[in-house]
Structures are given as structure tokens and as C-alpha cells.
């Protein structure tokens, strides 16, 4: 008799929380299909009277959002590739290879997690300016290429590779690179997906650093372009929502497809978000 109301309360609260979480996103989607000016009325409409692609056409034809999308896609993909290249070898070596100074270096790396990234931004900006990488995709990518979090993530996972497996290969005369390629990489595959998802989402969503490094609007990423667009087009709710859809939808879909891997990384990395 007491069971039913309790379960009703729990599920109703969950449904309410989910509605709060999703409503802004659904509203964004709905308004993006409204005609110019339609959202500015009272009471605020939930659904478009006649769905229209006007806002998307304006965005892609006149605001250059197609180019921003391509920039974001390129940068996020390139950062992901670089991060896989550099962090995975390092993470594996910190877990499984013995070399002088290994533990001390790793300690220093972990210590660096308390330093907020913004401390490095101003000198980094000046350094990159000297070598001509400001207003250049290289400037966005270089700091994203290797990171303590990625190394830590891979190391934690690599610790579980049995030493016997590696020793056996060494006894058979396999080189360290060969072992890495044919034993370690396949064993690390799940964490590689995690690292790739994390890096892609982080680079796609990043705002402050690309805002600082990129000043030419032809190089803007979606978040930077959207922020600048929103300062010029405050009145155009439909246009801005279409821009938000173009920015948010790809990462949301990617997350839904790979959420198992993403959540694993989140839990492993709760030493540093």
C-alpha cells in the first residue's frame, strides 16, 4: 500500500528533472525552425506555426557557419589524432616501462593538475605570436596535443596489462615498438575510444583559448563564431537557436553513441575533470 506512492514520487521527480534538463534543448530545436521574429511574441510559442528552414539558410548562406563548422570539425579531429599519438605512448610508458626518473616525472605531472590552464595562456599567446602561430590553427592545436589528463587516463588503464604478456614478447626478441604496436595498442582499445571522445568533445566545446588565438573570422570555430554572432544579432532568436543547434547537435549525438566510453573516462578521471 505504501509502495506505490513512493515509486510514483521517485519517477515523477525523475521525469521532472529530465524535463528541466531537456526543455532548453528542445526549445532550441523548436525555435530554430521558426520564421524570423516568430519567437518574439507573448505568450512564447513552443512550436513553430509552419516549420521553416529560413534561419539555417541565412546561417549557411550569409553568416559563413558552414566554414565555422568545417573549422571546428577539422580542429577537433586533428586534436584527437594528436592527443592519441602523444598521450598513449606516454601513458603506456609511465605504466609499464621502467626508466630512470619515471615516478618523479609522473608525480610532477600530477602536481601540475592544480595549476589552472589560464595561467599559461598569456605567455603562450606571446610565444605563439613570435613564431607566427597566432591566428593560425597550429596555435589552437599545439597545447591540445598532449595533456596530463590524457596521459593519466591511459596510464591507469595500461596498468592492467599483465607484465607476463610483455615479458614473453621480450623473451621472443620483439622490439619495444613492436610490443607497443601488436600487444599494447589492441589491449588499450577501449581507453583509446574514451580518450578520443573526450578530446574531441573538449576541443569542439572549447571557447577561451580559440577566442584568444584566432582573430580572423574565417578561422573561427563554432563557439567563437556563435559568441560573436550573438553580440551582433541579439534580436534574432531563430537565427541564434539554429546556430546553437548546429553547434550542439554533433557533440550530443557523438556522446549518445559513445556514452559508455565517455562515462568510464569521467569516472577514471575524477581526479581532474
Amino acid at each position: 500500500m505504501k509502495r506505490l506512492p513512493a515509486s510514483l514520487v521517485v519517477n515523477a521527480l525523475l521525469a521532472l528533472a529530465a524535463a528541466v534538463a531537456l526543455l532548453p534543448l528542445l526549445w532550441m530545436l523548436s525555435v530554430s525552425f521558426m520564421r524570423p521574429g516568430e519567437a518574439d511574441s507573448f505568450p512564447p510559442p513552443f512550436l513553430p506555426r509552419a516549420p521553416s528552414l529560413a534561419a539555417y539558410k541565412e546561417l549557411f548562406a550569409h553568416q559563413g557557419v558552414g566554414r565555422d563548422f568545417a573549422n571546428s570539425l577539422f580542429l577537433a579531429s586533428a586534436a584527437t589524432a594528436l592527443s592519441l599519438l602523444f598521450n598513449v605512448t606516454a601513458g603506456y610508458a609511465f605504466a609499464k616501462l621502467r626508466f630512470a626518473g619515471r615516478d618523479r616525472v609522473f608525480q610532477i605531472l600530477l602536481g601540475a593538475l592544480v595549476i589552472p590552464g589560464q595561467v599559461a595562456m598569456i605567455p603562450l599567446f606571446l610565444m605563439l605570436k613570435t613564431v607566427g602561430l597566432v591566428n593560425n590553427f597550429g596555435g589552437v592545436l599545439i597545447p591540445a596535443a598532449a595533456g596530463v589528463f590524457g596521459i593519466f587516463l591511459v596510464r591507469q588503464y595500461a596498468l592492467s596489462i599483465p607484465d607476463e604478456l610483455l615479458e614473453a614478447a621480450r623473451v621472443d626478441g620483439a622490439s619495444e615498438f613492436r610490443i607497443f604496436r601488436s600487444i599494447v595498442l589492441p589491449a588499450l582499445r577501449p581507453i583509446l575510444v574514451t580518450l578520443a571522445t573526450f578530446t574531441f568533445l573538449a576541443t569542439w566545446n572549447d571557447f577561451m583559448w580559440p577566442l584568444i588565438v584566432l582573430s580572423d573570422d574565417r578561422l573561427y570555430t563554432l563557439p567563437v563564431a556563435l559568441a560573436s554572432l550573438s553580440r551582433e544579432h541579439v534580436q534574432d532568436a531563430e537565427l541564434m537557436m539554429a546556430g546553437a543547434v548546429v553547434t550542439v547537435l554533433p557533440v550530443l549525438l557523438l556522446f549518445i553513441a559513445l556514452q559508455r566510453y565517455y562515462i568510464r573516462g569521467l569516472l577514471a578521471g575524477s581526479v581532474k575533470g
Binding site: 515509486s7 534538463a21 602523444f86 603506456y92 598569456i122 532568436a237
Partner: protein
């Protein structure tokens, strides 16, 4: 010996990048904060002078800097407990034995976390619109007069906090869910047999079991919230009446609007010092209470 070399070869590329593009700039930031690096030095390094701690002195005498510190602390002091409470509440609901469709609810509640901050801040700017926004419309339905959320200095920061809680609670929720799963079921059984109510079970079993997770989550959340930047940049541009200028927003304007890069570096270092102090204090309290 061979493995020694292999190890170094494997870590060298990543270490070079991190050393060159993180550790070096951090050290340089400190040196920079002791200079008057400005737009003239940007044009010609000959104009650069060493000024000792003058930047820090000027900052501590600058009311706008203190305003930025106060705004950021307001965001942290109100926003972090609200965020953690929302995360914990959502986690408890998700982990309830009575909950249905857990997979769907977990994904739905987590969705705001993976969205692009700038894009959802833009959405919320419209939701918070005084005349056409859904939030005032909803409040109007229950008889509350329209609030000028982003235009009133008293409401702008609460509005940003509301937005930040919505955007972030899913992250800690996942960590709490994992934490809840480590609390042994026997403890709940024993409490139930002793006739403890749900509230008492939460107070005497769940909370003590979660204490280390709460500590971790609050450390991470405070550090994250101290780095407030994109929300005011997109939603309020620091206004109205500088009520949402955060420390990083102040740093960004000093550095990249006025090109006072020496001063901006000093701001970055003071933020770092604050984060370090908060972490040390929290760990000390935790240690005294026997949580570590």
C-alpha cells in the same frame, strides 16, 4: 638498459609538448607578472620594464578587481552547494530501487554536460528574456511578476548560477552514482531492521559512506567554478554594472582588450593562489575530521 631508452623515447614527445607549452609559459607568466608588459612592449620589447610587485599592488588597490573577486566568490559560494545538492538529489533518484527507465533518465540528466557552453548560454539568454522568455512566462503563470534577469545587477549573477547548475549537475551526478554503488547493501538492511526511516538512513548510512566522494567533488567543483568565464562573456558581457565580471573575465579584458599582459598575468597568478589556498584549507579540514 634498452627498456630504459625505450621508456624515454615513448614519453619524450609528450613531455616536450607539456614542458614547452605548459610549464615554460607558467614560469614565464610569473616573470611577466613582474613587468609592465603592455601594448608598447608588444610592439617593441625595448619598452619592457621590470616593476617588481607593482602589478600586484595596483590590483589590490583596484576596486574593479575586488569586485571581480567578490562576484566570483558569490558564484562559488552559492553555486557550488546548489550544484552539489542537485547532483546528489539526482543521483539518489537514479539509484533508487523504485526508479524506472534508468538508462534514459541518466542520459537525459547528463545531456547538458556535453553540450557546448557558449551555445547553451545563448539559449539561456533567450529563456531568461524579460518579455519573451519561457522562465518569466512560467513564473507569470504562478503569479510572479517578470524579473529582468540579465539586466538587473541583483539578478544577473543568480541567473548565471541557475544556468551553471543546470549545465553542470550531471557531471557530479555520475560520480555520486558510482559512489552510492560502493555503499554495501547490508548497511541499509541493518538500518532498516533497526527501524530507521528513509531520512535517517540517508543521514547515517548514505552521507558518511559518500563523505570522501563529496570531498573530491567539492574540490573539483570549486576549482571549476573559480574559473568562471564564458557564461558572463556570452550572457552579460560582465554587466550590468559590472555585477558579473569574474576574475577570468577581468583577466581577459586586461590582457586581450587593453593589452596589459603583465597585469593580466598577475591576475592569473592571484587566481591560482586562491585556488591553491581553497584546496589546502579544504584538505586540512577533511584531515582534521578524519576523512583522509
Amino acid at each position: 638498459m634498452k627498456r630504459d631508452r625505450a621508456g624515454w623515447i615513448f614519453v619524450a614527445p609528450a613531455m616536450t609538448i607539456i614542458g614547452l607549452f605548459f610549464f615554460l609559459p607558467v614560469a614565464a607568466a610569473f616573470v611577466l607578472s613582474l613587468t609592465d608588459f603592455d601594448i608598447y612592449a608588444l610592439a617593441d620589447l625595448g619598452n619592457l620594464r621590470f616593476v617588481g610587485l607593482r602589478n600586484y599592488g595596483e590590483l589590490l588597490a583596484n576596486p574593479l578587481f575586488w569586485q571581480a573577486v567578490a562576484n566570483t566568490l558569490y558564484f562559488v559560494v552559492v553555486g557550488v552547494p546548489l550544484s552539489i545538492a542537485a547532483s546528489l538529489g539526482a543521483a539518489l533518484l537514479l539509484e533508487s530501487r523504485l526508479a524506472r527507465f534508468k538508462g534514459f533518465f541518466r542520459t537525459a540528466l547528463f545531456a547538458p554536460v556535453v553540450t557546448t557552453l557558449v551555445a547553451v548560454a545563448v539559449i539561456w539568454r533567450y529563456l531568461l528574456h524579460t518579455r519573451y522568455g519561457l522562465i518569466n512566462y512560467g513564473l507569470g503563470e504562478i503569479g510572479v511578476r517578470p524579473v529582468d534577469w540579465l539586466g538587473d545587477p541583483h539578478w544577473a549573477m543568480p541567473a548565471i548560477i541557475l544556468f551553471a547548475v543546470w549545465k553542470n549537475f550531471g557531471y557530479n551526478m555520475i560520480i555520486f552514482v558510482a559512489g552510492l554503488q560502493t555503499i554495501p547493501e547490508d548497511l541499509y538492511e541493518a538500518a532498516r531492521i533497526d527501524g530507521a526511516s528513509a531520512l535517517r538512513r540517508f543521514w547515517h548510512v548514505t552521507l558518511p559512506g559518500l563523505a570522501p566522494v563529496v570531498l573530491l567533488v567539492s574540490l573539483l567543483t570549486i576549482a571549476g567554478y573559480l574559473q568562471l568565464f564564458a557564461e558572463p562573456y556570452v550572457m552579460t558581457q560582465g554587466g550590468p554594472a559590472q555585477s558579473t565580471v569574474s576574475i577570468l573575465y577581468f583577466m581577459y579584458e586586461q590582457g586581450f582588450k587593453w593589452w596589459s599582459l603583465g597585469m593580466a598575468s598577475a591576475v592569473a597568478f592571484l587566481l591560482f593562489a586562491m585556488m591553491l589556498a581553497v584546496t589546502v584549507i579544504q584538505l586540512a579540514i577533511a584531515r582534521r575530521r578524519g576523512m583522509l
